[in-house]
């Protein structure tokens, strides 16, 4: 009955990396979805939402193929670095980003879209560039959606299994995450170890979400009152 702290540390690193990347990558995608007038926009929305319904193994399979030496992307990466992205931590981060994309982008886009358009227009008439309007008006008024998106991404990545197994395999210290560790323990009849690890993950996720939602509620009440 021992806890493999290395897998916990690795999983945490993965979740933080994915959340950080999606915070940066998700903002422009969500902005475009919220404000673009392009008539075929729904196609992009459907693609972004795909990971919600797709079995993780299907997504993981395609990511694995894309990273491998049979795809142009994989070949380019191998040419560049000398090794494949498959079964590496970076590959795992890439797969997880795709897998968690809708969990970040959808709350972001929904909160951007709910910002009063007249406020954005007012910002523009006061001489603000779209970028300034975004950081001074849209983002501050969407803070709840941003927190929700990042919390969901983080928790979702903490517990993912299928994509990790397909893309990363089970290499200790490189790609072995908590959920895979639990699966391994059950396979080898280490129920006590699986139980402890599962419980720890459960508590960790619960505490994290509690903090995030607690903060989120405060975000409602926090105004510029001084």
């Amino acid at each position: 009955m021992s806890i493999d702290w290395q897998t916990f540390w690795l999983t945490l690193q993965l979740a933080v990396s994915v959340s950080a990347v999606l915070l940066v990558l998700g903002l422009p995608i969500a902005y475009w979805i919220a404000f673009s007038g392009w008539r075929w926009k729904f196609l992009v929305e459907a693609v972004v939402a795909l990971p919600i319904v797709l079995p993780p193994t299907v997504l993981g399979f395609y990511v694995l193929v894309a990273l491998g030496p049979h795809s142009p992307l994989g070949r380019w990466w191998i040419m560049l670095t000398g090794h494949s992205l498959a079964f590496t931590f970076t590959g795992l981060v890439l797969g997880s980003i795709l897998y968690s994309l809708p969990f970040a982008v959808q709350p972001f886009a929904a909160s951007f879209a709910s910002v009063d358009r007249r406020l954005i227009a007012a910002s523009a008439t006061l001489g603000a560039s779209p970028l300034r309007s975004f950081f001074r008006v849209i983002a501050p008024l969407s803070i709840n959606g941003l927190i929700t998106g990042i919390a969901l991404t983080f928790a979702h990545t903490m517990g993912e299994f299928g994509v990790v197994l397909m893309v990363g395999g089970n290499i200790p210290g490189v790609t072995r995450t908590v959920s895979i560790d639990i699966y391994d323990r059950v396979q080898s009849s280490d129920y006590a170890g699986a139980n402890t690890t599962a419980l720890l993950l459960l508590v960790l996720c619960f505490v994290l979400l509690t903090i995030v939602y607690g903060l989120n509620r405060r975000a409602w009440a926090v105004g510029p009152v001084k």
């Binding site: 009063d116 007249r118 406020l119 227009a121 007012a122 910002s123 523009a124 008439t125 006061l126 001489g127 603000a128 560039s129 779209p130 300034r132 001074r136 008006v137 501050p140 008024l141 105004g223 510029p224 009152v225 001084k226």
Partner: protein, 380 residues
């Protein structure tokens, strides 16, 4: 981008806009098709809701893109459908106060007002903000949250936030709607004061006739996407003379008259009623309508709207007091119909009680009292 502190120069630029706009998505066939030139000072944009007032302002501010036309401030083209010019909203230097005000709810009053001043140094920003907050008497609100101030205060903050940026054109979309009259009057004073020192074209949308007369130098009437009338407030706002003969039916007294004098500042004019023979004419003060001195008119007065006094009345708000003599009295159901000769003959309706307490009888000397707005004007 131009420096915020740059002034508009010696010859004051006009806002010129020719805008054609129709939304393909809308099936109501709404089509904005206007051409206007707005000189410095207040120009009122008046019209029913749905007339296209806000659509027009949005096009000028660059918030919506017209299908055709050209918009320019002086020599500076903001939009040209043919030349494919479309200056982004942020670079147009068009100040715009929305009907909804759109104060940033997550910022303080001072932060809202400073919002458009980022290119200035910190100290200049603070100085300017403090000055405009003082001018609009909202200095004590500076550190309050924009969502925790009253309606009148919000209106002031929204105006200050836009005016502090020294826009080259100012668009005001019903900025004073939903305010009580005293607050409105104070803000109108503030706006007038600002207009004295910054002569820029101001397009002011309103539904309110008082605001038209209080602020208006010029009025444009917009209806169904077109400008249907344009002129000074008194030319445009006074009762349009389109009453037809059918409407005369409601008036017991109808007279031919001619305009003697117009008093736009009071919203009235003087007309004389045509009299037979050599008697001097009866002069009435009436509401102002379009048309100048010498215009022939018809004036309708309801018999029930005329007051009758048996001695010369004093201290009245009514502007027309005409001496005369009762010709006849007749009872019709519960009213008394008096015919009074005051160089013209007028029919006056009274109650039975009034007849008895005033001891009215044929031949008695009386004074007729007629309010200005009881004189209804019709095309002559």
């Amino acid at each position: 981008m131009t420096n915020v502190s740059a002034h508009s120069g010696e010859n004051l630029p006009l806002l010129r806009a020719r805008v054609g706009n129709h939304h393909l998505s809308q099936n109501d066939g709404f089509h904005l098709d206007v051409e206007l030139a707005v000189p410095p000072g207040f120009t009122i944009l008046f019209g029913p809701s749905g007339a296209g007032k806000t659509s027009l302002l949005d096009c000028i501010a660059g918030l919506s893109i017209p299908n055709s036309g050209r918009i320019a401030i002086g020599e500076r083209t903001l939009f040209d459908a043919d030349g494919r010019v479309n200056v982004p909203t942020a670079e147009r230097r068009v100040g715009y106060v929305f009907q909804t005000l759109a104060l940033f709810p997550h910022l303080t009053v001072a932060q809202n007002v400073e919002y458009g001043l980022t290119i200035l140094s910190r100290s200049e920003r603070t100085t300017r903000t403090a000055a405009i907050l003082r001018a609009f008497r909202i200095s004590d609100l500076a550190r309050r949250s924009a969502r925790k101030i009253s309606g009148g205060e919000s209106q002031r903050v929204a105006l200050a936030r836009t005016l502090v940026t020294d826009p080259e054109v100012l668009l005001l979309d019903e900025p004073l709607a939903a305010l009580d009259a005293p607050t409105k009057a104070k803000i109108i004073d503030d706006l007038r004061e600002w207009n004295r020192t910054h002569r820029v074209p101001i397009l002011y949308v309103t539904h309110s006739r008082e605001e038209v007369f209080a602020l208006g130098e010029r009025v444009l009437v917009l209806d169904a996407g077109r400008i249907v009338a344009e002129g000074t407030p008194h030319e445009v706002m006074s009762a349009p003379m389109q009453e037809t003969v059918a409407q005369l039916a409601g008036f017991e007294n109808v007279f031919d008259a001619v305009v003697d004098a117009v008093h736009p500042e009071r919203g009235t004019m003087a007309c004389h009623l045509e009299t037979l023979g050599n008697v001097p004419p009866v002069v009435l003060e009436t509401p102002l309508v379009r048309g100048g001195i010498g215009t022939p008119l018809r004036i309708g007065i309801r018999a029930g709207d005329i007051l009758l006094a048996t001695s010369p009345p004093v201290g009245l708000s009514a502007r027309n007091v005409i001496p005369g003599r009762i010709v006849s009295l007749a009872q019709r159901d519960v009213i008394v119909v008096a015919r009074v000769n005051c160089r013209v003959e007028m029919e006056v309706h009274l109650t039975l009680a009034a007849r008895d307490s005033l001891e009215l009888a044929a031949g008695k000397e009386v004074w007729l009292v007629i309010k200005t707005h009881s004189c209804h004007l019709m095309q002559g």
